[in-house]
């Protein structure tokens, strides 16, 4: 048990916290195949779950904070540093870098909360709910296709699309951030499983290709 009196404010807490897949850091390092597929954890992002009717007045206020709300499944709205993922017709996930969190000097959660005000809906700090895996490389799609039933071909699944689906039989929000890079948001309790599942799926690319 850490001696909490020795911690100096929020930065002391930042030093002792552990991300859900921190114990896999070494395995992710050795399991990655540079030039083919690389898996990293990008932990501690600021995330906020927002439930609001996008057509309402409070929805417009929230949209002004995040620079827009996605309209349909797959869309990602937002601006530099703040992305809004579509989870449902009135449910969104706001993702931002760690520094955007109120405890670190940002104002994301607070400004969302004040934008909602007393109107029906909710803004919940979900930063600890999910962790982030960043899967990139020319083989990244092939790795995901082993456990995801969606059509991940680039003609269908374009960069800047986020879909909530199943990868390796667990619920995951899959966000294609670039031509060959994906972000996966598993819940924290699934981080270990999904990390090991992805490493297993990546293993074959460490060996020379069999013609």
């Amino acid at each position: 048990m850490a001696n909490t009196t020795a911690l100096t404010g929020i930065n002391g807490l930042r030093d002792i916290r552990r991300s859900p897949a921190s114990h896999l850091a070494e395995a992710l390092e050795t399991g990655s195949v540079p030039g083919k597929v690389v898996l990293k954890e990008g932990p501690f992002q600021t995330m906020a779950g927002v439930r609001v009717d996008p057509s309402s007045e409070e929805g417009a206020r929230i949209a002004s904070v995040t620079s827009g709300l996605p309209v349909r499944c797959g869309e990602v709205a937002g601006r530099e540093g703040v992305s809004v993922l579509w989870l449902g017709p009135s449910e969104f996930l706001v993702v931002a870098p760690e520094e955007a969190h109120d405890s670190l000097g940002g104002d994301l959660i607070g400004s969302l909360t004040s934008a909602l005000g007393d109107a029906p809906g909710q803004v919940v700090d979900l930063s600890a709910n999910r962790t982030t895996y960043e899967l990139s490389g020319p083989r990244a799609r092939a790795v995901l296709e082993k456990g995801c039933a969606l059509d991940l071909h680039p003609r269908k699944f374009k960069p800047g699309t986020a879909l909530t689906t199943e990868v390796g039989n667990i619920p995951v929000t899959l966000w294609k951030t670039g031509e060959e890079s994906f972000r996966l948001f598993p819940r924290a309790s699934f981080a270990d499983f999904l990390g090991r599942w992805l490493l297993d799926a990546m293993r074959e690319y460490a060996s020379p290709e069999v013609p």
Binding site: R72, C73, G74, E75, L87, G88, P89, E91, A149, L150, D151, L152, H153, K156, F157, T161, L163, T164, T165, E166, N169, P171
Partner: protein, 148 residues
């Protein structure tokens, strides 16, 4: 594996969904007026249809929204997918359009696997178009499940 066309998300695997039982079982208008038998029938008695069956589904790993589906319990053919609250499209001839409005535009944005599922086509060449008087609207006092 069924390929179910969610009204919001497009075609997804059956494993992303949860089954919600028979659709169109309205809550009794006057629950305290029911006797024990009627109440038990409302709670527990459901049709065991062989053929076209109206049922509720929840896209639990996707958009987390409920919708209704007409499914053939013999062939598993999905005949129609329509929003909660809409009348059953193959019986209520009054508003077939509101039933079909669900699966349209959104499905193009998703990475849906199959090009088309049977969901968009409502086979309103229905088996019994004029069985109207029994199940007209939900306004009738007796719930569909209660009287069986």
């Amino acid at each position: 594996m069924l390929l179910i066309s969610c009204p919001n998300c497009g075609s997804r695997d059956e494993t992303e969904f949860h089954y919600g039982g028979q659709a169109h079982v309205p809550y009794p208008e006057n629950p305290s007026g029911l006797n024990d038998r009627e109440w038990a029938e409302f709670l527990f008695y459901r049709d065991n249809t062989k053929g076209i069956f109206a049922e509720r589904w929840l896209h639990s790993t996707g958009c987390r929204q409920w919708f209704n589906m007409l499914r053939d319990t013999v062939s598993y053919d999905i005949q129609s997918i329509y929003p909660m609250g809409a009348p059953r499209p193959d019986k209520a001839a009054a508003a077939p359009e509101s039933g079909t409005a669900s699966t349209a535009a959104d499905s193009t944005t998703t990475g849906s696997a199959a090009p088309s599922i049977a969901a968009t086509s409502i086979t309103s060449t229905s088996t019994a178009p004029s069985t109207a008087p029994s199940t007209t609207q939900s306004g009738t006092t007796a719930p569909e499940g209660a009287t069986k």
